[in-house]
Protein backbone atom coordinates (compact mmCIF):
# COMPACT_ATOMS: atom_id res chain seq x y z
CA UNK A 1 0.00 0.00 0.00
CA UNK A 2 1.39 3.40 -0.91
CA UNK A 3 2.02 5.99 1.77
CA UNK A 4 -0.67 8.27 0.32
CA UNK A 5 -3.34 5.60 0.32
CA UNK A 6 -2.41 4.51 3.80
CA UNK A 7 -2.82 8.06 5.02
CA UNK A 8 -6.24 8.32 3.38
CA UNK A 9 -7.39 5.10 5.06
CA UNK A 10 -6.02 6.23 8.42
CA UNK A 11 -7.66 9.63 8.32
CA UNK A 12 -10.99 8.38 7.07
CA UNK A 13 -10.96 5.96 10.01
CA UNK A 14 -10.16 8.76 12.42
CA UNK A 15 -12.87 11.00 10.96
CA UNK A 16 -15.48 8.20 11.06
CA UNK A 17 -14.72 7.46 14.71
CA UNK A 18 -14.87 11.12 15.64
CA UNK A 19 -18.19 11.59 13.86
CA UNK A 20 -19.54 8.44 15.51
CA UNK A 21 -18.89 9.94 18.93
CA UNK A 22 -19.31 13.65 18.27
CA UNK A 23 -22.47 13.82 16.09
CA UNK A 24 -24.86 12.45 18.75
CA UNK A 25 -23.29 14.68 21.38
CA UNK A 26 -23.59 17.63 19.06
CA UNK A 27 -27.24 16.91 18.31
CA UNK A 28 -28.03 16.65 22.00
CA UNK A 29 -26.20 19.92 22.57
CA UNK A 30 -28.24 21.53 19.76
CA UNK A 31 -31.42 20.35 21.43
CA UNK A 32 -30.26 21.51 24.80
CA UNK A 33 -29.26 25.01 23.70
CA UNK A 34 -31.69 25.50 20.82
CA UNK A 35 -34.69 26.32 22.94
CA UNK A 36 -38.21 25.07 22.29
CA UNK A 37 -38.10 26.12 18.65
CA UNK A 38 -34.72 24.54 17.99
CA UNK A 39 -35.85 21.08 19.02
CA UNK A 40 -38.67 20.90 16.51
CA UNK A 41 -37.04 22.77 13.63
CA UNK A 42 -36.44 20.69 10.51
CA UNK A 43 -34.05 20.63 8.77
CA UNK A 44 -31.67 21.18 11.67
CA UNK A 45 -29.36 24.13 11.43
CA UNK A 46 -25.78 22.93 11.66
CA UNK A 47 -24.60 26.02 13.47
CA UNK A 48 -26.22 27.06 16.74
CA UNK A 49 -26.74 30.65 15.53
CA UNK A 50 -29.71 31.12 17.82
CA UNK A 51 -28.18 29.29 20.76
CA UNK A 52 -29.76 30.21 24.04
CA UNK A 53 -29.08 29.23 27.57
CA UNK A 54 -32.74 29.69 28.37
CA UNK A 55 -33.83 26.06 28.57
CA UNK A 56 -30.63 25.09 30.34
CA UNK A 57 -31.20 27.85 32.88
CA UNK A 58 -34.80 26.92 33.42
CA UNK A 59 -33.78 23.33 33.74
CA UNK A 60 -31.05 24.07 36.25
CA UNK A 61 -33.49 26.18 38.18
CA UNK A 62 -35.83 23.24 38.61
CA UNK A 63 -35.81 22.35 42.23
CA UNK A 64 -33.40 19.57 43.14
CA UNK A 65 -31.39 19.38 39.93
CA UNK A 66 -28.31 21.04 41.38
CA UNK A 67 -28.45 18.93 44.47
CA UNK A 68 -28.95 15.75 42.45
CA UNK A 69 -25.96 16.63 40.27
CA UNK A 70 -23.79 17.10 43.33
CA UNK A 71 -25.09 13.84 44.75
CA UNK A 72 -24.41 11.99 41.52
CA UNK A 73 -20.87 13.30 41.32
CA UNK A 74 -20.30 12.47 44.96
CA UNK A 75 -21.56 8.92 44.54
CA UNK A 76 -19.53 8.42 41.36
CA UNK A 77 -16.38 9.77 43.01
CA UNK A 78 -16.90 7.54 46.05
CA UNK A 79 -17.48 4.55 43.76
CA UNK A 80 -14.31 5.35 41.88
CA UNK A 81 -12.23 5.62 45.04
CA UNK A 82 -13.68 2.52 46.66
CA UNK A 83 -13.41 0.29 43.61
CA UNK A 84 -9.81 1.35 42.98
CA UNK A 85 -8.85 1.10 46.64
CA UNK A 86 -10.29 -2.41 46.83
CA UNK A 87 -9.81 -3.54 43.24
CA UNK A 88 -6.21 -2.54 42.60
CA UNK A 89 -4.76 -4.52 45.56
CA UNK A 90 -6.88 -7.51 44.55
CA UNK A 91 -5.55 -7.15 41.02
CA UNK A 92 -1.98 -6.90 42.30
CA UNK A 93 -2.43 -10.07 44.33
CA UNK A 94 -3.91 -11.90 41.36
CA UNK A 95 -1.04 -10.78 39.18
CA UNK A 96 1.90 -11.36 41.52
CA UNK A 97 1.11 -14.15 43.94
CA UNK A 98 0.36 -17.73 43.08
CA UNK A 99 -2.20 -18.81 45.65
CA UNK A 100 -4.57 -21.72 45.92
CA UNK A 101 -7.90 -20.93 44.27
CA UNK A 102 -6.69 -17.94 42.25
CA UNK A 103 -8.80 -19.01 39.29
CA UNK A 104 -11.84 -19.64 41.46
CA UNK A 105 -11.36 -16.19 42.96
CA UNK A 106 -11.25 -14.70 39.49
CA UNK A 107 -14.53 -16.41 38.66
CA UNK A 108 -16.16 -15.33 41.92
CA UNK A 109 -15.20 -11.74 41.23
CA UNK A 110 -17.07 -11.89 37.95
CA UNK A 111 -19.98 -13.77 39.49
CA UNK A 112 -20.98 -10.76 41.58
CA UNK A 113 -22.39 -9.44 38.34
CA UNK A 114 -24.61 -12.47 37.97
CA UNK A 115 -27.07 -11.38 40.69
CA UNK A 116 -29.80 -9.23 39.22
CA UNK A 117 -30.16 -6.03 41.21
CA UNK A 118 -33.94 -6.31 40.99
CA UNK A 119 -33.86 -9.38 43.22
CA UNK A 120 -31.44 -7.80 45.65
CA UNK A 121 -33.31 -4.50 45.81
CA UNK A 122 -35.76 -5.37 48.57
CA UNK A 123 -33.34 -7.07 50.98
CA UNK A 124 -30.80 -4.34 50.31
CA UNK A 125 -33.35 -1.64 51.08
CA UNK A 126 -34.33 -3.34 54.31
CA UNK A 127 -30.71 -3.82 55.35
CA UNK A 128 -29.72 -0.29 54.41
CA UNK A 129 -32.61 1.16 56.41
CA UNK A 130 -31.56 -0.95 59.36
CA UNK A 131 -27.89 0.14 59.31
CA UNK A 132 -28.65 3.73 58.39
CA UNK A 133 -27.26 3.67 54.85
CA UNK A 134 -30.60 4.14 53.14
CA UNK A 135 -30.94 7.39 51.21
CA UNK A 136 -27.25 8.28 51.65
CA UNK A 137 -24.63 8.79 48.91
CA UNK A 138 -22.38 6.25 50.65
CA UNK A 139 -25.10 3.59 50.46
CA UNK A 140 -25.56 4.05 46.72
CA UNK A 141 -21.80 4.21 46.24
CA UNK A 142 -21.41 0.87 48.02
CA UNK A 143 -23.82 -0.82 45.62
CA UNK A 144 -22.14 0.87 42.66
CA UNK A 145 -18.77 -0.29 43.95
CA UNK A 146 -20.07 -3.85 43.92
CA UNK A 147 -20.91 -3.32 40.26
CA UNK A 148 -17.63 -1.67 39.31
CA UNK A 149 -15.29 -3.74 41.46
CA UNK A 150 -14.99 -6.81 39.19
CA UNK A 151 -13.80 -4.63 36.35
CA UNK A 152 -11.42 -2.68 38.56
CA UNK A 153 -9.90 -5.90 39.93
CA UNK A 154 -9.55 -7.72 36.62
CA UNK A 155 -8.37 -4.70 34.64
CA UNK A 156 -5.71 -3.89 37.22
CA UNK A 157 -4.70 -7.56 37.42
CA UNK A 158 -3.89 -7.64 33.72
CA UNK A 159 -2.26 -4.25 34.12
CA UNK A 160 0.10 -5.43 36.85
CA UNK A 161 0.78 -8.62 34.93
CA UNK A 162 2.03 -6.48 32.07
CA UNK A 163 4.67 -4.91 34.32
CA UNK A 164 7.65 -7.28 34.40
CA UNK A 165 8.37 -8.70 37.81
CA UNK A 166 12.07 -8.11 37.24
CA UNK A 167 11.49 -4.35 37.37
CA UNK A 168 10.18 -4.70 40.88
CA UNK A 169 12.99 -7.06 41.83
CA UNK A 170 15.54 -4.61 40.49
CA UNK A 171 13.98 -1.94 42.69
CA UNK A 172 14.25 -4.24 45.74
CA UNK A 173 17.88 -5.06 45.02
CA UNK A 174 18.77 -1.39 44.62
CA UNK A 175 17.37 -0.40 47.98
CA UNK A 176 13.56 -0.34 47.90
CA UNK A 177 11.20 -1.94 50.37
CA UNK A 178 8.19 -3.64 48.82
CA UNK A 179 6.08 -0.54 49.36
CA UNK A 180 8.71 1.81 47.95
CA UNK A 181 9.16 -0.39 44.90
CA UNK A 182 5.42 -0.30 44.33
CA UNK A 183 5.30 3.47 44.66
CA UNK A 184 8.41 4.26 42.62
CA UNK A 185 8.21 1.65 39.90
CA UNK A 186 4.90 -0.21 39.65
CA UNK A 187 2.51 2.66 40.27
CA UNK A 188 3.94 5.10 37.70
CA UNK A 189 3.86 2.37 35.09
CA UNK A 190 0.33 1.28 35.99
CA UNK A 191 -1.08 4.79 36.23
CA UNK A 192 -2.47 5.05 32.69
CA UNK A 193 -4.37 1.79 33.08
CA UNK A 194 -5.53 2.63 36.59
CA UNK A 195 -6.86 5.94 35.27
CA UNK A 196 -8.85 4.05 32.67
CA UNK A 197 -10.23 1.72 35.33
CA UNK A 198 -11.13 4.76 37.45
CA UNK A 199 -13.01 6.39 34.59
CA UNK A 200 -14.84 3.18 33.98
CA UNK A 201 -15.95 2.99 37.61
CA UNK A 202 -17.02 6.63 37.51
CA UNK A 203 -19.08 6.16 34.38
CA UNK A 204 -20.69 2.93 35.63
CA UNK A 205 -21.83 4.74 38.74
CA UNK A 206 -22.90 7.94 37.00
CA UNK A 207 -25.07 6.06 34.54
CA UNK A 208 -26.60 3.57 36.95
CA UNK A 209 -30.31 4.16 37.46
CA UNK A 210 -31.94 1.25 39.20
CA UNK A 211 -30.07 0.99 42.49
CA UNK A 212 -29.83 4.76 42.67
CA UNK A 213 -33.61 5.07 42.30
CA UNK A 214 -34.55 2.32 44.71
CA UNK A 215 -32.15 3.14 47.50
CA UNK A 216 -32.79 6.87 47.72
CA UNK A 217 -35.74 9.16 48.37
CA UNK A 218 -34.44 12.68 48.76
CA UNK A 219 -30.72 12.22 48.01
CA UNK A 220 -31.18 11.02 44.45
CA UNK A 221 -28.30 10.98 41.98
CA UNK A 222 -28.81 13.08 38.88
CA UNK A 223 -29.55 10.06 36.70
CA UNK A 224 -32.19 8.75 39.05
CA UNK A 225 -33.62 12.21 39.59
CA UNK A 226 -33.90 12.94 35.87
CA UNK A 227 -35.65 9.65 35.33
CA UNK A 228 -38.47 10.73 37.62
CA UNK A 229 -38.56 14.41 36.57
CA UNK A 230 -38.01 14.29 32.84
CA UNK A 231 -40.78 11.87 32.04
CA UNK A 232 -43.24 14.72 32.40
CA UNK A 233 -41.08 17.49 30.87
CA UNK A 234 -41.11 19.10 27.44
CA UNK A 235 -38.61 17.78 24.94
CA UNK A 236 -36.05 20.59 25.11
CA UNK A 237 -35.75 20.11 28.87
CA UNK A 238 -35.05 16.46 28.29
CA UNK A 239 -32.25 17.41 25.95
CA UNK A 240 -30.89 19.80 28.53
CA UNK A 241 -30.97 16.98 31.09
CA UNK A 242 -29.35 14.57 28.69
CA UNK A 243 -26.57 17.01 27.97
CA UNK A 244 -25.98 17.49 31.66
CA UNK A 245 -25.66 13.72 32.02
CA UNK A 246 -23.02 13.46 29.31
CA UNK A 247 -21.01 16.44 30.48
CA UNK A 248 -19.18 15.03 33.54
CA UNK A 249 -17.94 11.96 31.69
CA UNK A 250 -16.53 14.11 28.91
CA UNK A 251 -14.89 16.54 31.30
CA UNK A 252 -13.50 13.70 33.36
CA UNK A 253 -12.08 11.76 30.43
CA UNK A 254 -10.58 14.98 29.13
CA UNK A 255 -8.96 15.64 32.49
CA UNK A 256 -7.22 12.25 32.72
CA UNK A 257 -6.61 11.82 28.99
CA UNK A 258 -2.86 12.03 29.32
CA UNK A 259 -2.84 8.94 31.50
CA UNK A 260 -4.84 7.05 28.92
CA UNK A 261 -2.01 7.22 26.44
CA UNK A 262 1.10 5.37 27.48
CA UNK A 263 3.64 8.09 27.97
CA UNK A 264 6.55 5.73 27.64
CA UNK A 265 6.81 2.36 25.95
CA UNK A 266 6.38 -0.23 28.66
CA UNK A 267 8.22 -2.72 26.51
CA UNK A 268 11.02 -4.62 28.14
CA UNK A 269 12.62 -6.30 25.20
Amino acid sequence: MSVGLRRVVLWSGVVTLCLWVLVPIYLIALGAFGGRAGVFRWPKSLLPWDATLASMQTFLAVEGVGRAAVNGALVAALTMLLSLALGAPAGYALARYAFRGANLFRLLVILTRAFPLAILALPLTVTFIRVGLYDTPLGVALVHTALALPFAALVSASLFMGIPRELEEAAWVFGCSRLQAFRKVVLPLALPGLAAAAIFAFVISWNEVFAASVLTVRNKTLTAYLLTVLAESPLHYRFAGGFLLILPSIVFIFAVRKYLFAMWGVSNK
Partner: protein, 347 residues
Protein backbone atom coordinates in the same frame (compact mmCIF):
# COMPACT_ATOMS: atom_id res chain seq x y z
CA UNK B 1 34.59 -5.85 49.84
CA UNK B 2 33.22 -9.19 50.79
CA UNK B 3 33.43 -12.86 50.01
CA UNK B 4 30.39 -15.10 49.83
CA UNK B 5 29.81 -18.35 51.66
CA UNK B 6 26.94 -20.68 50.93
CA UNK B 7 26.31 -23.26 53.57
CA UNK B 8 24.11 -26.26 52.84
CA UNK B 9 21.56 -24.33 50.82
CA UNK B 10 18.59 -26.37 49.65
CA UNK B 11 15.58 -25.35 47.62
CA UNK B 12 12.44 -27.37 47.02
CA UNK B 13 9.47 -26.30 44.93
CA UNK B 14 6.78 -28.55 46.32
CA UNK B 15 8.06 -32.07 45.74
CA UNK B 16 10.68 -31.06 43.20
CA UNK B 17 14.20 -30.41 44.41
CA UNK B 18 15.74 -27.44 42.63
CA UNK B 19 18.91 -27.31 44.73
CA UNK B 20 20.31 -30.19 46.77
CA UNK B 21 22.61 -29.04 49.58
CA UNK B 22 24.89 -26.54 47.90
CA UNK B 23 28.14 -25.57 49.64
CA UNK B 24 30.19 -22.87 48.02
CA UNK B 25 32.98 -20.56 49.11
CA UNK B 26 33.76 -17.54 46.98
CA UNK B 27 36.73 -15.46 48.12
CA UNK B 28 36.63 -11.67 48.04
CA UNK B 29 37.04 -10.26 44.54
CA UNK B 30 36.64 -13.53 42.69
CA UNK B 31 34.69 -13.83 39.46
CA UNK B 32 32.72 -17.07 39.66
CA UNK B 33 30.57 -18.36 36.83
CA UNK B 34 27.63 -20.66 37.54
CA UNK B 35 27.39 -22.71 34.40
CA UNK B 36 24.82 -25.30 33.45
CA UNK B 37 21.92 -26.16 31.18
CA UNK B 38 18.55 -24.53 31.77
CA UNK B 39 16.77 -25.98 34.78
CA UNK B 40 19.99 -26.92 36.58
CA UNK B 41 19.26 -24.52 39.45
CA UNK B 42 21.91 -21.90 38.72
CA UNK B 43 19.47 -19.01 38.54
CA UNK B 44 17.65 -20.22 41.65
CA UNK B 45 20.96 -20.23 43.53
CA UNK B 46 21.73 -16.71 42.36
CA UNK B 47 18.28 -15.50 43.40
CA UNK B 48 18.73 -17.05 46.83
CA UNK B 49 22.00 -15.15 47.22
CA UNK B 50 20.20 -11.98 46.12
CA UNK B 51 17.35 -12.59 48.55
CA UNK B 52 14.75 -12.73 45.82
CA UNK B 53 14.06 -16.35 46.69
CA UNK B 54 14.17 -17.99 50.11
CA UNK B 55 16.10 -21.19 50.65
CA UNK B 56 14.28 -24.19 52.08
CA UNK B 57 17.34 -24.89 54.23
CA UNK B 58 20.87 -23.62 54.65
CA UNK B 59 22.51 -20.23 55.10
CA UNK B 60 24.09 -17.50 53.03
CA UNK B 61 26.92 -15.30 54.29
CA UNK B 62 28.16 -12.14 52.62
CA UNK B 63 31.36 -10.97 54.26
CA UNK B 64 30.91 -11.88 57.93
CA UNK B 65 27.19 -11.25 57.89
CA UNK B 66 24.60 -13.99 57.85
CA UNK B 67 22.17 -12.53 55.31
CA UNK B 68 19.85 -15.54 55.08
CA UNK B 69 16.92 -13.68 56.65
CA UNK B 70 17.66 -10.24 55.21
CA UNK B 71 15.75 -8.37 52.51
CA UNK B 72 17.53 -7.88 49.16
CA UNK B 73 18.10 -4.20 49.94
CA UNK B 74 19.90 -5.02 53.19
CA UNK B 75 22.44 -7.34 51.58
CA UNK B 76 24.74 -4.80 49.97
CA UNK B 77 24.51 -6.32 46.51
CA UNK B 78 23.93 -5.11 42.99
CA UNK B 79 22.36 -7.19 40.26
CA UNK B 80 22.10 -7.26 36.49
CA UNK B 81 19.01 -9.02 35.19
CA UNK B 82 18.53 -11.13 32.10
CA UNK B 83 15.89 -8.78 30.66
CA UNK B 84 17.91 -5.72 31.75
CA UNK B 85 15.02 -4.53 33.94
CA UNK B 86 15.81 -0.87 33.38
CA UNK B 87 12.96 1.34 34.56
CA UNK B 88 11.07 2.52 31.48
CA UNK B 89 9.65 5.63 33.15
CA UNK B 90 13.04 7.04 34.15
CA UNK B 91 15.78 8.56 32.06
CA UNK B 92 19.06 6.71 31.73
CA UNK B 93 20.53 9.11 34.29
CA UNK B 94 17.80 8.37 36.84
CA UNK B 95 18.15 4.64 36.17
CA UNK B 96 21.87 4.70 36.86
CA UNK B 97 21.33 6.98 39.86
CA UNK B 98 18.54 4.85 41.34
CA UNK B 99 20.61 2.84 43.81
CA UNK B 100 22.55 5.91 44.95
CA UNK B 101 19.38 7.93 45.48
CA UNK B 102 17.85 5.11 47.50
CA UNK B 103 20.90 5.26 49.77
CA UNK B 104 20.32 8.97 50.22
CA UNK B 105 23.56 9.98 48.52
CA UNK B 106 24.28 13.70 48.12
CA UNK B 107 23.49 15.24 44.73
CA UNK B 108 27.14 15.90 43.97
CA UNK B 109 28.08 12.30 44.69
CA UNK B 110 25.18 10.97 42.61
CA UNK B 111 26.34 13.09 39.69
CA UNK B 112 29.94 12.00 40.06
CA UNK B 113 29.17 8.29 40.36
CA UNK B 114 26.67 8.31 37.50
CA UNK B 115 29.20 10.12 35.32
CA UNK B 116 31.87 7.56 36.22
CA UNK B 117 29.65 4.55 35.54
CA UNK B 118 28.29 6.08 32.32
CA UNK B 119 31.83 6.77 31.13
CA UNK B 120 32.84 3.18 31.86
CA UNK B 121 29.95 1.75 29.85
CA UNK B 122 30.04 4.42 27.11
CA UNK B 123 26.47 5.63 27.67
CA UNK B 124 27.26 9.25 28.49
CA UNK B 125 25.54 10.56 25.32
CA UNK B 126 22.25 8.87 26.26
CA UNK B 127 21.93 10.03 29.86
CA UNK B 128 18.78 12.09 29.33
CA UNK B 129 17.03 9.63 27.04
CA UNK B 130 14.33 7.17 28.03
CA UNK B 131 15.11 3.44 27.70
CA UNK B 132 12.44 2.99 25.02
CA UNK B 133 14.71 4.96 22.71
CA UNK B 134 17.69 2.63 23.27
CA UNK B 135 18.73 -0.60 21.59
CA UNK B 136 19.02 -3.86 23.52
CA UNK B 137 22.77 -3.52 23.81
CA UNK B 138 22.49 0.02 25.12
CA UNK B 139 19.88 -1.00 27.68
CA UNK B 140 22.18 -3.74 28.89
CA UNK B 141 24.91 -1.15 29.34
CA UNK B 142 22.50 0.96 31.37
CA UNK B 143 21.72 -2.07 33.54
CA UNK B 144 25.42 -2.73 34.16
CA UNK B 145 26.10 0.95 34.82
CA UNK B 146 23.24 1.02 37.34
CA UNK B 147 24.85 -1.90 39.14
CA UNK B 148 28.37 -0.43 39.10
CA UNK B 149 27.25 3.06 40.14
CA UNK B 150 26.66 1.88 43.71
CA UNK B 151 30.22 0.47 43.91
CA UNK B 152 28.90 -2.90 45.06
CA UNK B 153 31.06 -5.33 46.97
CA UNK B 154 29.00 -8.16 45.49
CA UNK B 155 27.74 -8.13 41.94
CA UNK B 156 25.24 -10.73 40.72
CA UNK B 157 24.62 -11.22 37.03
CA UNK B 158 21.84 -13.39 35.63
CA UNK B 159 22.57 -14.30 32.00
CA UNK B 160 23.20 -10.64 31.21
CA UNK B 161 24.21 -11.21 27.61
CA UNK B 162 21.73 -13.87 26.55
CA UNK B 163 19.30 -11.39 24.97
CA UNK B 164 21.90 -9.84 22.71
CA UNK B 165 22.70 -11.03 19.22
CA UNK B 166 25.87 -13.05 18.70
CA UNK B 167 28.19 -10.32 17.50
CA UNK B 168 27.15 -7.83 20.16
CA UNK B 169 27.48 -10.54 22.79
CA UNK B 170 31.10 -11.13 21.90
CA UNK B 171 31.84 -7.43 22.00
CA UNK B 172 30.06 -6.91 25.34
CA UNK B 173 31.83 -9.94 26.81
CA UNK B 174 35.26 -8.51 26.13
CA UNK B 175 34.21 -5.14 27.45
CA UNK B 176 32.54 -6.59 30.54
CA UNK B 177 35.69 -8.44 31.48
CA UNK B 178 37.74 -5.25 31.46
CA UNK B 179 35.10 -3.22 33.30
CA UNK B 180 34.45 -5.85 35.95
CA UNK B 181 38.11 -6.52 36.60
CA UNK B 182 38.45 -2.83 37.38
CA UNK B 183 35.48 -2.81 39.77
CA UNK B 184 37.01 -5.42 42.08
CA UNK B 185 33.57 -6.68 43.14
CA UNK B 186 33.03 -10.30 44.04
CA UNK B 187 31.02 -11.40 41.03
CA UNK B 188 28.70 -14.32 40.44
CA UNK B 189 27.76 -14.72 36.84
CA UNK B 190 25.03 -17.12 35.75
CA UNK B 191 25.18 -18.42 32.21
CA UNK B 192 24.44 -21.44 30.08
CA UNK B 193 27.04 -20.37 27.53
CA UNK B 194 30.32 -22.19 28.16
CA UNK B 195 32.43 -19.80 26.11
CA UNK B 196 31.11 -16.91 28.20
CA UNK B 197 31.95 -18.75 31.40
CA UNK B 198 35.38 -19.86 30.18
CA UNK B 199 36.25 -16.41 28.87
CA UNK B 200 35.13 -14.36 31.85
CA UNK B 201 35.48 -16.36 35.02
CA UNK B 202 38.31 -16.99 37.47
CA UNK B 203 36.52 -20.18 38.46
CA UNK B 204 33.53 -22.00 37.07
CA UNK B 205 31.01 -24.02 39.03
CA UNK B 206 29.32 -26.46 36.68
CA UNK B 207 25.80 -27.26 37.85
CA UNK B 208 23.56 -30.12 36.85
CA UNK B 209 20.19 -31.14 38.31
CA UNK B 210 20.54 -28.95 41.39
CA UNK B 211 24.05 -30.13 42.25
CA UNK B 212 27.45 -28.53 41.70
CA UNK B 213 29.31 -31.17 39.71
CA UNK B 214 32.71 -29.49 39.84
CA UNK B 215 34.35 -26.16 40.64
CA UNK B 216 37.69 -25.25 39.18
CA UNK B 217 39.61 -22.91 36.94
CA UNK B 218 38.29 -22.98 33.36
CA UNK B 219 41.30 -24.74 31.86
CA UNK B 220 41.42 -27.34 34.63
CA UNK B 221 37.72 -28.09 34.11
CA UNK B 222 38.33 -28.54 30.44
CA UNK B 223 41.29 -30.85 30.87
CA UNK B 224 40.24 -32.82 33.92
CA UNK B 225 36.45 -33.01 34.13
CA UNK B 226 35.36 -34.73 37.34
CA UNK B 227 32.24 -36.22 35.82
CA UNK B 228 30.97 -37.35 32.48
CA UNK B 229 28.48 -34.46 32.48
CA UNK B 230 31.18 -31.80 32.86
CA UNK B 231 33.25 -33.33 30.06
CA UNK B 232 30.25 -33.45 27.79
CA UNK B 233 29.07 -29.94 28.66
CA UNK B 234 32.37 -28.10 28.22
CA UNK B 235 34.15 -27.80 24.93
CA UNK B 236 33.00 -27.62 21.36
CA UNK B 237 32.75 -30.27 20.10
CA UNK B 238 31.99 -31.94 23.45
CA UNK B 239 34.21 -34.67 24.83
CA UNK B 240 33.84 -38.12 23.22
CA UNK B 241 32.89 -41.03 25.43
CA UNK B 242 33.83 -44.55 24.37
CA UNK B 243 32.57 -47.46 26.41
CA UNK B 244 35.39 -50.03 26.34
CA UNK B 245 36.06 -53.45 27.91
CA UNK B 246 38.89 -53.72 30.49
CA UNK B 247 40.90 -56.88 30.95
CA UNK B 248 43.63 -57.11 33.60
CA UNK B 249 44.05 -53.36 33.84
CA UNK B 250 44.32 -52.87 30.13
CA UNK B 251 41.93 -51.56 27.51
CA UNK B 252 42.44 -53.12 24.16
CA UNK B 253 40.50 -52.54 20.99
CA UNK B 254 41.89 -53.53 17.65
CA UNK B 255 45.19 -51.71 17.34
CA UNK B 256 44.73 -49.56 20.46
CA UNK B 257 46.12 -50.46 23.89
CA UNK B 258 46.21 -48.46 27.09
CA UNK B 259 46.47 -49.08 30.80
CA UNK B 260 43.10 -48.32 32.39
CA UNK B 261 41.45 -48.50 35.80
CA UNK B 262 38.34 -50.58 36.40
CA UNK B 263 37.66 -54.25 36.15
CA UNK B 264 34.96 -54.87 33.60
CA UNK B 265 34.08 -51.88 31.53
CA UNK B 266 35.37 -48.30 31.51
CA UNK B 267 34.43 -45.12 29.66
CA UNK B 268 37.29 -43.33 27.95
CA UNK B 269 36.71 -39.57 27.71
CA UNK B 270 38.66 -38.27 24.75
CA UNK B 271 38.79 -34.67 23.50
CA UNK B 272 38.42 -34.33 19.76
CA UNK B 273 41.80 -32.60 19.50
CA UNK B 274 43.68 -35.16 21.64
CA UNK B 275 43.61 -37.73 18.88
CA UNK B 276 46.31 -38.45 16.37
CA UNK B 277 45.45 -39.92 12.99
CA UNK B 278 47.87 -42.74 12.30
CA UNK B 279 48.38 -45.98 10.35
CA UNK B 280 47.10 -48.20 13.13
CA UNK B 281 44.92 -47.75 16.19
CA UNK B 282 41.17 -47.42 16.76
CA UNK B 283 39.36 -47.97 13.48
CA UNK B 284 37.25 -44.90 12.72
CA UNK B 285 34.67 -44.70 9.93
CA UNK B 286 34.17 -41.11 8.80
CA UNK B 287 30.52 -40.27 8.22
CA UNK B 288 30.70 -36.47 7.89
CA UNK B 289 33.66 -34.15 7.32
CA UNK B 290 33.09 -30.45 8.12
CA UNK B 291 35.81 -27.93 7.24
CA UNK B 292 35.46 -25.29 9.99
CA UNK B 293 38.43 -23.16 9.03
CA UNK B 294 40.58 -23.67 12.09
CA UNK B 295 40.05 -27.42 11.93
CA UNK B 296 38.46 -30.17 9.94
CA UNK B 297 35.76 -31.70 12.13
CA UNK B 298 35.20 -35.39 11.45
CA UNK B 299 32.17 -37.22 12.78
CA UNK B 300 31.95 -40.97 12.62
CA UNK B 301 31.96 -44.15 14.63
CA UNK B 302 34.45 -46.22 16.60
CA UNK B 303 33.20 -49.74 17.31
CA UNK B 304 29.66 -48.53 16.75
CA UNK B 305 30.02 -45.55 19.11
CA UNK B 306 29.80 -41.93 18.01
CA UNK B 307 33.11 -40.08 17.91
CA UNK B 308 34.24 -36.66 16.79
CA UNK B 309 37.78 -35.86 15.80
CA UNK B 310 39.44 -32.53 15.07
CA UNK B 311 41.87 -33.02 12.21
CA UNK B 312 44.27 -30.49 10.73
CA UNK B 313 42.36 -28.31 8.27
CA UNK B 314 44.69 -29.13 5.39
CA UNK B 315 44.11 -32.88 5.53
CA UNK B 316 42.28 -34.43 2.62
CA UNK B 317 39.63 -36.60 4.20
CA UNK B 318 36.17 -37.32 2.90
CA UNK B 319 33.10 -39.13 4.15
CA UNK B 320 33.19 -42.92 3.95
CA UNK B 321 36.92 -43.17 4.56
CA UNK B 322 38.35 -45.44 7.27
CA UNK B 323 41.04 -43.92 9.49
CA UNK B 324 43.00 -45.18 12.47
CA UNK B 325 43.11 -43.11 15.65
CA UNK B 326 45.65 -42.93 18.45
CA UNK B 327 44.27 -41.04 21.45
CA UNK B 328 46.94 -39.49 23.68
CA UNK B 329 46.80 -41.88 26.69
CA UNK B 330 47.98 -39.17 29.10
CA UNK B 331 44.99 -37.00 28.22
CA UNK B 332 42.30 -39.64 28.38
CA UNK B 333 39.83 -39.16 31.23
CA UNK B 334 38.70 -42.51 32.60
CA UNK B 335 35.13 -42.57 33.82
CA UNK B 336 33.42 -45.26 35.86
CA UNK B 337 30.29 -46.28 33.90
CA UNK B 338 28.32 -46.91 37.10
CA UNK B 339 28.93 -43.61 38.88
CA UNK B 340 29.76 -41.54 35.78
CA UNK B 341 32.59 -40.00 37.83
CA UNK B 342 36.19 -39.76 36.73
CA UNK B 343 38.59 -42.33 38.21
CA UNK B 344 42.34 -42.17 38.37
CA UNK B 345 44.25 -44.34 35.97
CA UNK B 346 45.82 -47.37 37.68
CA UNK B 347 49.39 -46.43 38.38
Amino acid sequence: MAGIRIDGVEKKFGQATALARIDLDIPDGEFLALLGPSGCGKTTLLRIIAGLETATAGQVFIGDRNVTELQPRQRGIAMVFQNYAVFPHMTVFENVAFGLRMRGAEDAEVKAQVARAAELLHITPYLDRYPAKLSGGQRQRVAVARALAVRPSVLLMDEPLSNLDALLRLEMRTELKAVLAQSGATTIYVTHDQTEAMGLADRIAVMHKGVIEQIDRPQALYERPATRFVGGFLGSPPMNFLDLPVRAGVVELDGFRAAAPGTDRIIAGVRAEDVEIADSGLPFDVRVAEPLGAMLLLSGAVAGQTMRVAARPDMLISAGQRLYLRPDPARIVWIDPATERAVRAAA
